[in-house]
Symmetry: C2
Subunit: 134 residues, 2 copies
């Protein structure tokens, strides 16, 4: 690329209106609740293969080196990026998140992301909190 446009792009890495983000940068990003408490992080993204839509952020609440860790697919629309905190804010009670459908790593790896049944199950669960029908 030419030098002028490189500088223009590098000049705005932290802007909140930054339009695009690398998936490798999303993974590992902390997730906060409304009070600012760090409740977990985004571990992965579940993407619709054909359209390329991110359907869920795969959220983790912790665990030790993945052992006993449970992954909670969270509809993308429920995450709001907060540039000041450097993470996503989810305006849901922690209890709602922890009671949501979740999977262990083997389940996630085996099916590469929830199938249609799980999509329906997760959207039914999060529908009252503003998840968009998919």
């Amino acid at each position: 690329m030419n030098q002028a446009s490189t500088e223009q792009l590098i000049d705005r890495p932290a802007r909140s209106d930054h339009r695009l983000i690398l998936s490798s940068r999303v993974n590992g990003t902390p997730v906060f609740d409304d009070s600012g408490e760090r409740i977990g992080h985004v571990d992965d993204l579940s993407i619709e293969r054909v359209s390329g839509d991110v359907v869920y952020a795969i959220m983790s609440f912790g665990g030790f080196l993945g052992i006993g860790e449970k992954y909670h697919p969270l509809p993308w629309a429920l995450l709001n990026y907060d540039p000041e905190r450097g993470g996503y804010v989810v305006s849901l009670d922690k209890t709602v998140l922890k009671d949501a459908p979740h999977y262990d790593r083997a389940e996630l790896e085996a099916f590469g992301g929830p199938g249609r049944d799980s999509i329906d199950r997760i959207l039914t669960y999060y529908g009252p909190y503003g998840a968009i029908t998919y």
Copy 2:
């Protein structure tokens, strides 16, 4: 999740109509040309932060441990997953891909994905090959 739905999902990991895929699984996936030659791999995905649309696959043609490696954002719509090859097929001449707009790792990391100018530049480049306007 309940046992029945777990088994149902695990039973179909390799189906080509598998609807969702984890971003961690996309990254590293080989890319082939029409003749079946492996021409590179998907190194990362560039995602629109708000909508969650995958705009580009960040394609790499190789390089040694990232040194001297150049990354070519390729509109997602131009990649077709081939379950038999276990990778994506891009029906473009290798010369077209190599002459396309590309960036080094520092550039990618600095701006977290190309900005609007680069989007226009890349879509203008790939438009004749069927890239969808974004």
